[in-house]
């Protein structure tokens, strides 16, 4: 039985968006609507706020293996992760010309410093460092974050965006709630029937969604969900179920994801393109909507490595995700030189070791093209799960 042509077409369309490093879709949207487009770096920004002011939030995720880095390397030493250099390269080669601004969420020192570099390299665009609080008391960290969001909102308005109104923000929250709900459903479907939602496909869809308005991406998710779950041409194979963690910022190359799948793994949970799942449940639409956004970050955000969370919450969280997804193994898969991911890893490993789940770890860079070692490693991992599971 062959695949539904509509599914193929949808995935192709998403693939085209994913490969669109020069943001043609964004240019096209701007030409059509005359609105502002503002990029943001991984891993989280409150897109609802931008949307409510008529701004298109554009998720920037670094480069891909086929991007030749010429100028970007002039800005970074070899021992710094790859994402900032491809970001600089894309900025300098004009790919981001359509963006009226960039938001740098507080992720790590590299992104933090990049915000200053951006100010110097592109003095005309809005550069906003979003200092996500590490104090989760609404009266302290919440108040600070709220002030920060207000200043962002004013800066957008100063550039010609609509003024922020509570009504518009409520509507945007509702749209993003629906969008996030569909992502949760896609993840749930993949957990249940991973052969129906191959990760290299889901990933591309999630990436494509970063470049289009939320209304469009919601439609895309819904269609994909319907088509993929209905497709009977996709049959289960004898693969090991694994959870992939650590890739929350710089993204692994698509070929790496494919390599893992080919080496015998079903990815049943991951932290790729984390912005879609950074807030875990619906944000209330009643009450003060800006406060709701603030509170969601304080109380409902994932236990990301970039946040200070006391007690072994992160480990417990990981183990719970592994249990819920029925993972038979955990793959720690982090970008080389990524301090937040790599410093978290020993703690996470210790947590996983308290369960019976086997794990393995490797590093990548977004521009890797060589997966021999990883294939060997993932292959052996899958082999041993398959050969010995239940034994």
């Amino acid at each position: 039985m062959s695949e539904d042509p509509r599914l193929t077409a949808l995935v192709d369309r998403a693939g085209a968006l994913f490969r669109d490093q020069a943001l043609a879709a964004v240019r096209e949207w701007k030409a059509r609507t005359g609105g502002l487009a503002v990029g943001f770096l991984p891993i989280y920004v409150p897109r609802e706020l931008l949307h409510a002011q008529g701004v298109l939030p554009v998720g920037l995720m670094g480069g891909r293996p086929d991007l030749e880095i010429i100028k970007g390397d002039a800005y970074y030493q070899s021992y710094i992760c790859h994402l900032p250099r491809s970001t600089v390269e894309l900025g300098l080669n004009g790919s981001y010309d359509a963006l009226d601004g960039l938001i740098f969420p507080a992720i790590c020192d590299v992104i933090r410093n990049l915000s200053g570099m951006w100010q110097m390299l592109f003095p005309k665009v809005l550069v906003h460092y979003l200092d996500v609080p590490q104090n989760f008391d609404p009266a302290i960290g919440g108040a600070f974050y709220r002030r920060d969001l207000e200043s962002l909102s004013q800066a957008l308005e100063a550039r010609g965006a609509r003024a922020l109104t509570a009504a518009a923000l409520r509507q945007s929250i509702a749209l993003y709630n629906e969008n996030r709900r569909l992502v949760r459903e896609l993840y749930a479907l993949r957990r249940r029937e991973p052969w129906k939602v191959p990760t290299h496909e889901l990933y591309v869809v999630l990436r494509a969604a970063l470049l289009v308005p939320v209304e469009e991406s919601t439609t895309m998710f819904a269609e994909y969900l319907a088509l993929a779950s209905a497709d009977r041409s996709r049959r289960p194979q004898d693969q090991a179920r694994v959870l992939v963690t650590g890739s929350f910022c710089e993204q692994p190359p698509l070929a790496l994801i494919k390599t893992l799948e080919r080496a015998g793994c079903y990815i049943v949970d991951d932290d790729f393109v984390q912005v879609h799942r950074f807030i875990r449940s619906d944000i209330p639409v009643d009450g003060d909507p800006l406060q709701s956004i603030v509170d969601a970050l304080l109380t409902d955000a994932v236990a990301s490595p970039t946040r200070y969370i006391a007690d072994e919450v992160k480990g417990a969280d990981l183990n719970q995700r592994a249990a819920e997804s029925g993972a038979e193994g955990v793959l720690f898969c982090a970008a080389s030189f990524c301090d937040p991911a790599l410093l978290d890893q020993p703690m996470a490993v210790r947590a996983v070791e308290r369960t019976a789940i086997p794990w393995t770890a490797f590093k990548y860079a977004e521009n890797n093209g060589q997966f021999q070692v990883i294939r060997e490693q993932a292959g052996t991992f899958a082999d041993s799960i398959k050969l010995w599971s239940g034994a």
């Binding site: 970074y76 020192d109 200053g116 969370i309 410093l343 703690m347 590093k363």
Partner: protein
């Protein structure tokens, strides 16, 4: 070319140096005795340290960064780092963290050979670097002790806003002070805090005078290698103490004496007799080969006249002083103002300013693999400062405490080429 010897071979120790050594030894004695005396200890970091506040609660600070660099100078870090990597820590991450974890796993023996007390509190004031946060997450798993988290926002736009100040003060009031009260069982005593802050400001005045003495030609101090010793007390456990006030007073007098005699800086291998190059340095030093590294400069007659590393514990030369009249606000201001919390454009301004104010021939960046906070963006700094100052920049790479990343031959080659370039430029300009 080498007509007169550049570095004289007699080494001597000034009395300030003796005093400093003695102060530090006393501090470690107190720490070693802490478990018996019942004194409380807090682990905390150099940038954004709240020493006065801790002292007002009679809490002794332990600074893991200082322990790591001291371990490196004593040649212990290779072993410590290996121990941490054995536990699954990546080769890629900050070696201060690994060295600290390795030290802890090897019995937590401090730089003086005495055992360090376990923390009663982890005071996580994470100024200027996200790694601090991870570091204490790791330590917390080991010690299971209370943590006080102080999130210090980043000066992304090159200034401190009211919102930031309020946020930090709110945290001091509602998180840090209550935690300290809980851990020590004492009440917050604002008058004591004020008294410490007043002493801080006094020492800070003298420190700034010392650092700015490098504006003299020849400079009486080395403001990078030498400054490491000068900033030691004020960046660590002594800010706000009478000891620090005395030390800086004495240091200032000594240096005033050197200026009167027209003397150059003291190095471990003797005095620099002939100042050939005046250099501004950006980035932390390498600790594993500290003396060798310094000698590479001194042998060429290269004197650091200003550095940014000597500002990681506070950029006092821009005017900031601890202010006893506004105790919490001043602490907030202090935390927000440390060098690594400055935006890249601000760092560039500062370097450019140093180049002209200190009449430097050029500047050098020592880029350390460990520290993204310092290093990410340094190549951009290099270019911008070159363009703005018109003076040549040099770039070398090493690491803080991982001896694997100090390649002496490579660094020497680059330094030599750099100094020859300055020389050639000078010859060209005068011909």
């Amino acid at each position: 070319m080498s007509a007169a010897p550049i570095v004289a071979t007699t080494a001597h120790k000034d009395s300030s140096q003796v005093r400093q050594k003695e102060m530090i030894a006393r501090h470690f004695d107190r720490l070693a005795a802490a478990p018996d005396t019942g004194t409380r200890c807090a682990y905390t970091f150099v940038p954004g340290n709240l020493t006065e506040l801790l002292l007002s609660f009679d809490v002794l600070p332990v600074l893991p960064e200082i322990n790591a660099l001291q371990s490196a100078m004593r040649g212990k870090t290779a072993e410590y780092i290996a121990a941490a990597e054995k536990l699954g820590h990546s080769e890629d991450v900050c070696t201060y963290v690994k060295s600290d974890i390795g030290m802890m796993k090897s019995g937590n023996i401090g730089p003086t050979g005495q055992r360090l007390p376990s923390p009663d509190l982890l005071l996580l004031s994470y100024t200027g670097c996200f790694t601090f946060m991870k570091w204490f997450e790791l330590l917390r798993e080991e010690y299971h002790c209370p943590v006080a988290m102080l999130h210090v926002p980043y000066q992304a736009d090159g200034r401190i806003t009211d919102s930031m100040r309020t946020y930090v003060v709110d945290q001091l009031k509602n998180v840090v002070i209550p935690k300290l009260e809980e851990v020590t069982g004492r009440q917050y005593d604002e008058d004591r805090l004020r008294a410490h802050l007043a002493r801080s400001a006094q020492a800070e005045d003298d420190l700034v005078w010392v650092l700015q003495s490098a504006k003299n030609v020849p400079s009486p101090i080395d403001a990078y290698f030498g400054a490491v010793y000068y900033v030691g007390p004020i960046f660590s456990a002594f800010r706000g103490t009478a000891d620090a006030v005395d030390y800086y007073r004495e240091l200032r007098e000594e240096i005033a004496g050197r200026i009167r005699q027209g003397k150059g800086p003291v190095t471990p291998d003797g005095e620099v007799e002939r100042e050939r190059f005046r250099i501004v340095v950006e980035g932390p030093p390498n600790w594993t080969s500290f003396r060798q590294f310094w000698k590479m400069f001194a042998d060429e007659g290269a004197v650091a006249v200003a550095s940014t590393y000597s500002k990681v514990g506070g950029v006092y030369d821009l005017g900031f002083r601890h202010d006893p009249d506004h105790p919490l606000e001043t602490l907030a201001e202090y935390c927000l103002g440390c060098y690594t919390n400055l935006s890249l454009p601000t760092r560039i301004d500062l370097l450019t300013r140093y180049l002209s104010e200190y009449r430097a021939d050029g500047f050098l960046i020592n880029s350390v693999k460990s520290c993204n906070s310092f290093s990410a963006g340094q190549l951009h700094i290099l270019r911008e400062v070159e363009a703005r100052s018109g003076r040549p920049g040099g770039f070398i790479e090493s690491d803080l405490v991982d001896p694997r990343y100090f390649s002496a031959a490579n660094i020497k080659n680059r330094l030599e080429s750099y100094f020859q370039m300055l020389d050639q430029k000078r010859a060209g300009a005068s011909s």
